[in-house]
């Protein structure tokens, strides 16, 4: 492995601008050792800033997400959020109408259920929504729901 900045001059655009936020490594020696203990792998070492409120504040709470999206509307949703054929064990038919952003936000943050659905069903729907990626139907709405902080 090479650090990018270790690359020769023909890659001039790969330079990192590192600014220290809080004085690093003024830690005790024992916690230094902790850094290199396997247990240290449990925690996240990288936090990447993603588009937060990528959308207008105004649009938050205004969009809806169809579960599943229209192109796959005959599928059922398994408890882990993946789509399966109907009548598969541990799976549920999608909600009859698209879920509202305000409800989704509460479900993600506080594990609440969607109006009219059981908690098991709701958690399957929320897991489906969490798996949405850019380019899929509903992602724009999902991105706009992502809670600040």
């Amino acid at each position: 492995m090479h650090g990018e900045d270790g690359q020769p001059e023909d890659r001039p655009d790969v330079a990192s601008d590192i600014g220290s936020v809080e004085a690093p490594s003024r830690a005790q020696k024992s916690s230094r050792r902790d850094l290199l203990r396997l247990s240290a792998l449990g925690g996240a070492a990288i936090i990447t800033i993603r588009p937060g409120m990528a959308q207008a504040a105004a649009s938050v709470n205004m969009c809806t997400i169809a579960v599943p999206d229209a192109a796959r509307s005959t599928k059922w949703i398994k408890s882990d959020g993946t789509l399966v054929s109907k009548n598969t064990a541990n799976s549920y038919p999608g909600p009859t109408s698209p879920l509202k952003a305000a409800d989704i936000k509460n479900a993600i943050n506080y594990n609440t259920s969607y109006p009219g659905y059981t908690s098991a069903q709701s958690s399957a729907y929320t897991n489906y929504i969490k798996k949405l990626t850019q380019g899929t139907a509903g992602f724009t709405c999902f991105a706009s729901i992502q809670n600040p902080a």
Binding site: H2, G3, G19, S25, L41, T48
Partner: protein, 72 residues
């Protein structure tokens, strides 16, 4: 925590130790995981063992995934 703006990707990251230290060492001299683990332990003044190599290997993979380091 160290805050970093990565110009080539336009992405901002927070890095926890020992990632900034690893990047600093690689910037001085590029090398593989084994040697990097040794150099890191030396810099932090702690004994180097297999565990350290495992951690460094894993952390290097995380850095590679966000594109901050790559194979030669």
């Amino acid at each position: 925590m160290t805050l970093l703006y990565h110009k080539p990707s336009g992405v901002t990251h927070f890095l926890a130790s020992p990632l900034p230290e690893m990047l600093a060492l690689l910037r001085e001299v590029p090398c593989g995981a084994d040697i990097l683990a040794e150099r890191l332990c030396h810099r932090l003044a702690i004994p180097c063992n297999d565990e350290a190599v495992t951690v460094v290997t894993e952390r290097l993979a995380e850095l590679a995934a966000i594109g901050l380091v790559h194979s030669a």
